[in-house]
């Protein structure tokens, strides 16, 4: 219990630091700002994932896998904008791939999680 309280405090700290970074973003160069967001998100991810029990590791993988399909947003931007044929073909394929990743990932995770039952 003590450990989990400590972990919560750490998560809390990370979230506050994230908020701080956003507030002070005024003068920072875009790259530094993006790197800051990246680094803090990695720390937050490690804090959360460490607390996920081994029983749920497979759904965690398929679920986080679906989240990594967020590239879909980039694919939509690349396809929908008027960028010429070649970029359009690349973007179209990217949208198909990423959507399979996203939709398939969330559906299969839901299917797995629905099987986890307890009588208590």
């Amino acid at each position: 219990m003590l450990f989990s309280t400590l972990a919560m405090q750490e998560v809390d700290g990370v979230v506050k630091a994230l908020a701080g970074a956003v507030q002070q973003s005024g003068g920072a160069a875009p790259l530094i700002l993006l790197l800051t967001v990246f680094a803090l998100a990695v720390f937050l991810g490690v804090e959360i994932i460490t607390k996920i029990p081994p029983t749920l590791h497979t759904p965690l993988m398929s679920g986080s896998n679906a989240i990594s399909g967020i590239t879909l947003v980039g694919a939509v931007l690349a396809t929908g904008a008027d960028n010429g044929t070649w970029a359009g073909i690349l973007g179209f394929s990217a949208v198909v791939f990423a959507t399979m990743n996203v939709v398939g990932g969330f559906v299969v995770t839901n299917r797995m999680l629905a099987m986890f039952k307890t009588k208590k």
Partner: protein, 466 residues
């Protein structure tokens, strides 16, 4: 939709991803957590489609339709035993999408305008190269992992002398080509696709030499890469949502990779380069297996009748034999007769993290009965009968006793300390580590030779008849 409103939607989506992942920390809240993640994705995609630069929605909707249908069919048709393959395949698709998005960026109008204007943008180019490189390694590595898990005939464990050197050269080559991309943006597309090709080759070579039991590490690592590739794409497009979501997945894969490596007492480098200590005490099978006793389903049933606590330790063999439903029948029967049944699950049992848990959950076994290694080890002296089903190296006591063994120091489930151990196995053949297992010849151990599913069904029948 104004850019500010789109950014706000992205912030909402990023928050929902985080809350969704937090939901996965408990089985009770996990379904909702996953749905929150899906909702976040929906919000992000809809907001993006309302971006003013999006002019051709029809093509987009067709592509999303194709992807959704294909993904849903795969997700609904797949057998639970084939889950590692499916995750590998989805990983590869994510990596492939990153390669294509970065490629589309280089082919796009905004990019060519920036090249003509001569504005410096080395940071964006670096991110593009990273996105293509990591994405391509993820794509080809995942496809090889898929082929291996699916046991496709044309993929064999390939290792050749100088493989490490070739891998190193390919890595340096891919980074060098990425550097050319950054320094010569006017030829960016050429350098990009050559680099992606080299990275595809690297991904194949990195995974092709890795054996079956090391797959949990590889799958976790590729999962991490697919996240990092998405993050890199975020740097290309200056998009915080991609960076945050990608970083969360990258972190998730890294945490799982570390857990898997610790559970095998091997370093990540040792797994990736396929180095495994061989030899050890060099006892031959004949020396170890001098006093192996075999038993029958009837005999096991009689032992179960006088037991109070039974521990079942499943391994990859249970998945191969599709024995999880037979195990459920036996478990229910034992519970009806007031025999306590617990499951001891080693972190690397199976072909991906949590593989055994999913199979047992599929067979409707209460997840409260699925215990972690440390928990069952501390209750081992109260176990009357431990049934090892299709597991080998993870219950090999040599890990504790022989410091020269390839698995020395690997944490194992101490079934040898239970009163009686029943090992259900086809033969005395070694596990992945390629060493004999003294457990099979221990005084308190009995071998029940045969197919896992059939053997468990026979025990159930014999127990029910008695």
């Amino acid at each position: 939709m104004s850019p500010d409103l789109i950014d706000l939607s992205y912030l909402l989506a990023a928050s929902l991803f985080i809350i969704g992942l937090k939901g996965l920390t408990k089985p009770r809240t996990a379904v909702r957590g996953n749905l929150l993640g899906a909702l976040a994705m929906l919000i992000a995609v809809v907001a993006t489609m309302l971006d003013q630069n999006i002019v051709s929605v029809t093509g987009l909707l067709i592509a999303i339709g194709i992807g959704s249908i294909a993904g849903t069919i795969l997700a609904l048709k797949i057998e639970m035993t084939a889950m590692p393959q499916l995750v590998a395949l989805f990983n590869g698709l994510g990596g492939g999408a990153s390669v294509l998005v970065a490629g589309a960026f280089l082919a796009g109008r905004e990019f060519s305008e920036r090249v003509t204007s001569g504005a410096g943008f080395a940071d964006v180019l670096t991110a593009t190269a990273a996105s293509g490189l990591i994405g391509a390694v993820t794509l080809s590595g995942s496809l090889v992992a898929f082929a291996k898990l699916q046991e496709l005939k044309f993929v064999k464990d390939v290792s050749f002398p100088g493989q490490k050197l070739v891998n190193l050269l390919l890595t340096v080559g891919a980074i060098g080509l990425g550097w050319m991309l950054v320094t010569q943006p006017e030829h960016a597309q050429l350098w990009y696709w050559v680099m992606a090709g080299v990275a595809l080759g690297l991904g194949v070579l990195l995974v092709i030499s890795i054996g079956g039991a090391d797959m949990p590490v590889v799958i976790a690592l590729l999962n991490s890469y697919s996240g990092l590739a998405a993050s890199a794409t975020g740097f290309v497009l200056n998009n915080n949502l991609l960076i945050i979501a990608g970083a969360l997945v990258g972190a998730s894969g890294l945490v799982l990779t570390r857990i898997m490596c610790n559970a095998m007492n091997r370093s990540l480098g040792a797994v990736l380069f396929g180095t495994m200590k061989s030899g050890g005490s060099s006892l031959s099978d004949d020396e170890v297996y001098t006093s192996v006793k075999s038993t029958s389903a009837d005999e096991v049933a009689m032992m179960l009748e006088v037991s109070q606590t039974v521990l079942i330790v499943p391994g990859y063999g249970m998945a191969v034999a599709q024995a999880q439903h037979a195990v459920r029948d036996l478990t229910n029967l034992l519970l009806n007769r007031d025999v306590d049944v617990q499951f001891g699950i080693h972190p690397v049992a199976g072909r991906m993290p949590g593989h055994m848990n999913v199979l047992l959950a599929e067979a409707d076994i209460d997840y409260d009965r699925l215990k972690e290694m440390d928990e069952v080890n501390s209750m081992m002296d109260q176990v009357d009968v431990a049934i090892v089903l299709g597991a080998n190296d993870v219950v090999n006591p040599l890990a504790r006793t022989d410091p020269d063994s390839p698995i020395a120091g690997m944490p194992i489930i101490d079934v040898d300390k239970a009163r009686t151990v029943i090992v259900v196995k086809r033969s005395l053949s070694p596990g992945f580590a390629g060493i004999a297992n003294p457990l099979f010849a221990a005084d308190n151990a009995l071998m029940l030779f045969g197919d896992g599913k059939q053997a468990i069904s026979e025990i159930t029948k014999a127990f029910d008849d008695a």
